[in-house]
Symmetry: C2
Subunit: 642 residues, 2 copies
């Protein structure tokens, strides 16, 4: 019997996710009726490749474990096989009989039959030497002349090379692993509006301006540059500044109202440039180790060419008009959703798949998908499945801030990463609970968080009210709690924090509706902190994954203390953040040494990664004091003092 | 999407177990992409019957729940179906539009299309009146004359009777429920050796003697009478008293060494009587509401007729002899195991199945199966499956004291009840942990404990050393912690506690090897306590199931306090047991009122079910004092004082 296999997502219905180079640790319960010895293996392969077997180790209580490394990007598979092992049973029993001084003549004859059969299996497998060896052993056993030596490794080893697996059971179904590039788990994102990237105030920014901006983004230490939609923008029902419904002819409109006479999802807004500029941007970014992520928003402005070319892809109202987007009583008449229940759904699905293919052809490897939860799950499972089969390096970030089970389902059907509720988790207990949930199985096996302190849609109240200290706190939390995080800049580093109106999470004078011009050289920019933290992230493997997260006791409700530890255990990074933007806070830290593999008796060397210097902690927990304006957070490396 | 269904055993591979009359509570996550309203139902049926649907209630966070009652013994099935509900979506949106004062002319036309379609569904289903009603409503909506009244129940109710379920998803696989008679969960077992049932010392007891003993067993309050094997006993390698390997001709042998010239598993030992005596015993027991359970031990003495008739059902050794049972270096030469890997396994399986059928024909409805873990799991799944299909009332108790996962697997493949580790769980924390594990999902969904303070094979050290107080303690624990329990008597009620040798769990002068004569009238018999506790068990629904178990804080390591509460919440029984057989113990009880639905502010009336009388507890927890020789345990009914 093989059961209780882990990792396992919904009984094997969905693959687990890993990145290249990960060790996949598999456990299972394996047992048989009766008293026979059991052996078990994990079987794994890259899809299309040969199966490889790794012997499992018995952990006690019928639990078994083995690990293997996934060495290539793409789809892998694994399962567990186990069998009753007559040789191991016989050998164990013989030892007990000999210890008890029993006559083992008949037992040796039984053993000879087992060895003979193994010899035949060896011969059939072309292992001539083993076959001959085993045949000689069988003769000795038959002759009754090899009682104690029958326990020798010299016999055991070839027997174990040719086991009798006639009573083998294999766990079903075969389980999937989506193996992604490392940056699927560890990446630092920077979002900017290309149209605001002009160095001159008032001029519409271009993709060429974004190329010039790469040095800045690179200097901050980001490795993914994410652009809102770069397509032509509709004119019908175009929105003006601050989302007013009456736009003037000069208003640039909302980039998510996709499509105009110039084209739709596979066109570039003429004011931004051309497809050649996209290619140039992707190439220039690649030279700096930065990947460009595009926004895929599957919806159309009333002026999108598909509205005319494929009317069946949109729902018609009884009055003959096209159904616009709604969230009653709100109406979004500048946006037409696609009708995933269209009779021509195969045509629609193929066209949407084609949008991804078009941009992949132009070097895009990361897509941030807008509101995937309002499209059909089966579409995503199909489209992402096809795309990852043909381009296994391509990644998909789900922009879904909907209910938890819907977000998890999107991850299961294929999204590589997902936005999270981080933005609204502001208290100590909320942050602790949420990140423990995200960093442990079963969630961590299929859902990868990408956390953002702000987005163009969300300026949280804490940032509106907390000023620069809160920007620092939320930034450090994002960059150290999660292996993947991002900021919407330059609004973030420049501390943009005025809402459209009190109680709103929208920015006033949002770039979603108008051009902005940003002074990147402002002395109060958070750029130095961002640069430092991104450097620490790159240098510390502890921060490259989410699994090694542990929270620690600190006796102050506004202080949050947590460590991350690298899979090999060698790198430990402690972060302490004050959630209070107004007052100084202090507390005594009580490290959970067991979770860190640190012996407090030996002392702990704490190296300050932000401000430099180090000290040794011994005995009682250290006192941590943080003060708005002086320092809002500490990032320390911990190591044995000696 | 439908996922996260509970209860669920191994993804639906195995059925859950319930008893007739149980309410089955089913939960699931059900959700859809987008903003559409979702509806969900649980679908259930007795196998072969019609499916019945029960609407599920939304619990929040996309979780849904419904319950249904299983009203017949046998196999049932259930699953969950959910669909997006365009009518509920439209209706909810209309309310918001009207509240916002919007023009809803086009929306009413959309609603008319939904109502028209429902009218057509109603007509197709033969609901002429609904069809006509809905057609009239559609006309009103088309005419735009029914804005606010479109929200009336008068329209909503027929719409909900004829929902559009074209986008329905059903959870797979369909899930099974084994519905057993009530005594599968709640039963009190008494084991005795018929050959020791003679009223005269020295005479071999008979089944007729057992009929005479029924009044005693009934008087103690037991409802299952379990008999060790009643078949002819082998003579070859017969064991003598205290398991010596040299038996005298007068020694009766071990009942588990089944088979002699007189027959095998379908014969009655001549000294016990005839098959007619079995029929008479079953009938006499039934008149008292007692069921007779037989022991099924699938193994043979060397003298079993099948050894001669079916040599292929046994494994041959290279010297031509039959392989006897072993646990190296121990040899059990009086026992031949069946070879479940025999080439004639189909013949063996059918023959073993036939043994059950034979005894079912003679009125036996409960089988205690000896060492099922040394036989093939697939055999049990097949045999129990066939037998329960043809005789759904028949129950199987697994006598397996092997590793936990093996015991759980036996329960999954079909055993109705199982022996447990209760005998070896003697400390407060051990008992607490173990019974919490057994009384909660997932274990409680498929595994039913049957707990025994002693068996003919296990005289635990605590009973050897603890004397009568420990017998009282272990008895009350067994009878109140588990809905099903048993004792091996009269050894138990007469306090038999001498081991074969120090350190052994075997009884000295065990009935397994010789006849015994018991003085049931001894004044120190535990019979009065047993009688009282069995009466309490019958009178209190709280003790009829395992799920309502809660442990409570009491500040003494030797005092264990727990309650059971009936599913309707009305009956609460508190038991406090002292695990110390030597010294008086006292402690303050802190009831977990929340788990009991009791308001301490109203006072709690505690009625002493063993000694009579009652008192009201208010404010601080009551002080409980127990003293060996005076009282070892208390059983109290708790109820609101006013």
């Amino acid at each position: 019997m093989v059961e209780g296999v882990s990792p396992l997502v919904d009984g094997g219905r969905f693959p687990i996710k890993r990145v290249i180079g990960d060790r996949v640790v598999v456990e299972a319960d394996a047992f048989a009726d009766g008293h026979d010895a059991v052996s078990a293996v994990v079987r794994h392969r890259a899809v299309g490749g040969d199966w490889v077997e790794v012997p499992m180790e018995a952990l006690g209580n019928d639990r078994w474990r083995a690990a293997f490394t996934v060495g290539a990007i793409g789809r892998h598979e694994y399962t567990v096989a186990a069998w009753t092992d007559p040789w191991a049973t016989w050998r164990g029993d013989l030892a007990k009989r000999l210890d008890a001084g029993q006559d083992v003549a008949v037992d040796l004859r039984i053993g000879a039959l087992l060895v003979e059969a193994a010899s035949a299996r060896a011969a059939a497998a072309g292992a001539e030497e083993d076959a001959a060896d085993l045949e000689r052993w069988a003769e000795r056993l038959r002759a009754g002349s090899a009682a104690r030596s029958a326990l020798d490794d010299e016999l055991d080893l070839p027997m174990r090379r040719h086991p009798d697996r006639s009573h083998e059971t294999t766990f079903e179904p075969v389980l999937g692993i989506t193996v992604d590039p490392v940056h699927a788990r560890f990446s630092s994102w920077y979002e900017l509006f290309p149209r605001s990237a002009s160095p001159e105030a008032g001029r519409h920014g271009t993709l060429r301006d974004v190329i010039d901006r790469l040095a800045y983004v690179d200097g901050l230490g980001f490795d993914v540059l994410y652009l809102p939609p770069i397509h032509p923008i509709g004119r019908t029902f175009r929105k003006g500044p601050n989302n007013v419904t009456t736009a003037s002819p000069d208003d640039p409109g909302v980039p998510w109202a996709i499509g105009g006479p110039e084209g739709g999802h596979m066109a570039v807004h003429p004011d931004l440039g051309t497809i050649d500029d996209v290619d140039a941007l992707v190439a220039a970014a690649r030279l700096r180790g930065i990947r460009v992520a595009l926004d895929i928003a599957f919806q159309a402005s009333p002026d999108h060419p598909w509205v005319r070319e494929h009317p069946t892809w949109f729902r018609q109202r009884p009055d003959g008009t096209v159904q616009y987007a709604e969230n009653p009583p709100k109406k979004y008449q500048d946006i037409y959703p696609f009708d995933f229940e269209s009779e021509d759904w195969p045509g629609l699905w193929r066209a949407l798949h084609g949008v991804f293919e078009y941009w992949i052809d132009h070097g895009i490897e990361i897509f941030r998908v807008d509101n995937p939860h309002t499209k059909a799950f089966p579409f995503w499972e199909w489209a992402i499945g096809e795309l990852k089969r043909d381009h296994p390096e391509v990644l998909f970030l789900a922009e879904a801030f909907t209910r938890p089970k819907v977000m998890y389902r999107l991850a299961k059907v294929g999204f590589s990463q997902s936005y999270t509720y981080f933005t609204w988790r502001t208290h100590k207990q909320e942050l602790t609970d949420y990140f423990l949930e995200l960093s442990r199985p079963p969630i961590a096996d299929f859902f990868r968080p990408n956390v953002w302190p702000n987005t163009p849609d969300i300026l949280h109240e804490t940032l509106q009210l907390g000023g620069r200290p809160m920007f620092e706190a939320r930034f450090v939390l994002a960059a150290t709690l999660a292996a993947a995080y991002g900021i919407y800049g330059p609004a973030f580093e420049l501390g943009e924090n005025v809402p459209r109106e009190p109680g709103s999470e929208e920015y006033r004078d949002s770039e979603k509706y108008e051009l902005r011009h940003w002074d990147l050289e402002r002395p109060d920019s958070l750029a130095p902190l961002i640069q430092a933290v991104n450097r620490i992230r790159h240098e510390h493997p502890a921060l490259h994954s989410n699994e090694g997260l542990a929270f620690h006791e600190i006796d102050n409700d506004a202080l949050l203390a947590y460590t991350k530890r690298s899979p090999d255990g060698d790198d430990i990074v402690l972060t302490v953040v004050s959630l209070d933007p107004k007052a100084a806070r202090a507390g005594t830290l009580r490290l959970h040494h067991g979770a860190l593999g640190l012996d407090p008796g030996r002392g702990i060397r704490a190296t300050d990664l932000l401000e430099g210097g180090s000290e040794v902690w011994a005995g009682d927990g250290p006192r941590i004091a943080l003060e708005p304006g002086r320092r809002q957070a500490m990032i320390l490396q911990l190591a044995p003092a000696r």
